[in-house]
Amino acid sequence: MYVDVQSASSDSLPYFTSPSHSSLTLELIPFVLCTWRCRSNKIVPQTYRSIIDDVIASVKVDFEEYGMEEEVLMNLQAKWEARLLETKVADFARAPGSSESPEPEGEGGSPSQADATGAVSSPAGPSVSQGLALPPLTGLALPGRATANGDDVRVKAEPGEDPMRIRGGASGERKPYIPTDGERRPEPNAAGLLPGDEVIDSDLDDSDDELRDDAEGGDDDADVDIVFCVYDKVQRVKNKWKTVFKDGMIHINGRDYLFSKCNGEFEW
């Protein structure tokens, strides 16, 4: 199924993933890059690739209805992908590495300056992974790419972090027993509201130790370890919990992982 996706993508977007490169690099990478993240994390690029392609293809009609030029749609796709690349949640780089260099894609310029400071102060976790991911690439890629990477942490940190913090904060501390608040809260954010709004909200986190704890963790990492998924079953016997999760997106240690099914066993 994703073969189609990949070939389709290579037409429109040479720099994100191209079949020829990925097949080549897939063999080389294990030597150069990590061995620790090549496995389950590997499906992330292709899955994200297919999501992006599907979204872009599907909203094309809507863009036309709104009288948008096709360029605007392409621009959206380029920006989306650029931001995703910046997150470094997976080895997007390995496929695009060689083909990406010709296309710094607008994005690189402005944010990269801002990052100069941001990159330095960027948290250890992500920067370490960058360190690993980058060296093999920089040989191939432009300097522009390196800066783009540096800045990602910064750029990502604020928008990424706030919704998470809200999620935890709002649901618990504001009205512990009114979940809707916590649940809906992230959506407006996701819909593109300003991070500034959330920063104000985050003051409220102070009222709850546990949640503040959460928020602090987020600060340190510039990244909250979080899993988005649906549940099939949640069972408890005494203090033992067993859960069956499905269709999950794990974001942990600055990396993304996907699962179709996840069994959880916890002790309370």
Binding site: S40, I43, D225, D247, D256, L258, C262, G264, F266
Partner: protein
Amino acid sequence: MSAGQSYYEFYRGSSIGTALTDALDELITQGDIPPQLAMRVLQQFDKSLTECLQKGVKNKTTVKGHLATYRLCDDVWTFVVKDPQFKMEGTGAGSELVTAPKVKIVACKSGDAPEGKKSGGKSADF
């Protein structure tokens, strides 16, 4: 997927979701697209992401850890797990162990997102 199905929006908080919302935000700010169109894109994202996860991902994972807090509100479970150990089973060889000090798991009820209608969420595969 039936046409009338509704999809969860909470995946928008993921990496790919925030990347999209940031991009849309930028375009709106520049005046390139109207906000309504951005909303439409996000709705499509909800749908595409759900379908791609369901169809394109086969990996299985297990997670163990100490449950620090649990919460069920409006059919949404939230778990905070200390010292979680994720065992990510790869498509090919072996599995990968990933640990962290703490992870939050946000889980909506499986099946159709109950948007508007209250109990539409129960799925056949329950």
